[in-house]
Symmetry: C2
Subunit: 222 residues, 2 copies
């Protein structure tokens, strides 16, 4: 079930360009840890001295408001990276991370990455490209939160996460709501509205797009 650390890294945009010997250098002897579902892995504010590679299971990266509301920045599946960016801005983790399923996670310390970075310009280029992509995603999120209503955000989520008309929800609907910057109830209503209009269909966590154009209109129209 666990993925191979090296192959995970190779499939990550940030490190896909690395040659085998560079990979070895990057990885070296790493910590690999198991976290049961619900365990906090990273707490916001801790010194950011390692990034995470999810080898099995799944984790969420999230922010908490003072009164306990949660905004999920990413859901990271097995094979994904966490905090690759935080590691470069010396400082602290800007968000918390929790295992949403039983997970095994490898930690790669900052020094290993920066060493590599300093020696190989190719690596730098790849990382710059990867970070820029992430930045662009965040701009979309800001656009959603500031300028679009819940239904539109949902429409965008469906459009961006569906492959030929289908899209599996990542985790519970409560989690999806937290990803869209809202809570369960409004999300539930938005889903219902789309279903009633015949725009989508949804059962047991799988969304089927019926009227793609209607979804796109939602993004443009309001």
């Amino acid at each position: 079930m666990d993925q191979d650390l090296q192959s995970v890294l190779l499939s990550a945009p940030l490190f896909s360009q690395l040659r085998p010997e560079q990979l070895d250098e990057l990885v070296g002897p790493v910590d690999i840890k198991r976290y049961p579902r619900g365990t906090e892995i990273i707490r916001v504010g801790e010194p950011a001295d390692a990034f995470l590679v999810v080898l099995s299971g799944a984790v969420k990266v999230y922010l908490l408001s003072p009164d306990g509301r949660e905004h999920i920045l990413h859901m990271v599946q097995s094979g994904g990276l966490v905090a690759e960016a935080a590691v470069f801005a010396q400082g602290t983790y800007p968000a918390s991370t929790m295992a949403t399923e039983d997970s095994t996670v490898a930690m790669v310390r900052r020094a290993r990455v920066t060493d590599l970075l300093q020696r190989d310009p190719e690596v730098g280029l790849a990382m710059v490209a990867g970070l820029s992509r992430r930045l662009r995603e965040f701009v979309s999120v800001i656009e959603d939160l500031s300028l679009r209503d819940v239904a539109s955000r949902l429409a965008r989520f469906i459009l961006e996460n569906s492959t030929d008309g289908r899209c599996r929800l990542p985790g519970t609907k409560t989690e999806l709501a937290a990803q869209l910057g809202t809570v369960l109830e409004p999300l539930s209503r938005a889903l219902r509205k789309l279903k009633e209009r015949g725009t989508i269909d949804e059962q047991s966590g799988v969304i089927e797009v019926i009227d793609r154009d209607a979804l796109e209109d939602l993004l443009l129209g309001t």
Copy 2:
């Protein structure tokens, strides 16, 4: 009034590490253009093949909703850069840019940066750090929009932009509102509330922090 292109670049985090000959290489023969106040410089969606250096005046980087509301991502003063990140993620500009004052702007084409990046690992490291910092800022914005009310966002803005108890508003209050993900009226009320409580004082675009602790409480308490 115009700033020197080279010295602007040197003072930008992204390029501050460059040696003189690298700078020359980066800059080469650049376009320098003038834009009167109110002119659109970049339109969202255009191919992102250059980044901007503001030599005089000021510009705003912003998103527009279908119904015309505006969210300002950055206000960039003379000496600042625009779209440094967009240039690396090959693709299109994710936001628009407009001159908020009469401005002169230099354009640096993508090829010049990537060339340099490929040749010098130091540059990569600096850029990676710069992008990570930007990423972190965006996380804060997402946190604001998703989890905090207008008064709290204002408090955070004041805290982060004040040097020893003072903070000059960048542009009009309408613009500040658009930066905080709201509009003029709610911002005006939030300001009044803080003034009435004796937390801050404000006149002619300058905010004076009277009770710093109260501002910080706003961020934590709700």
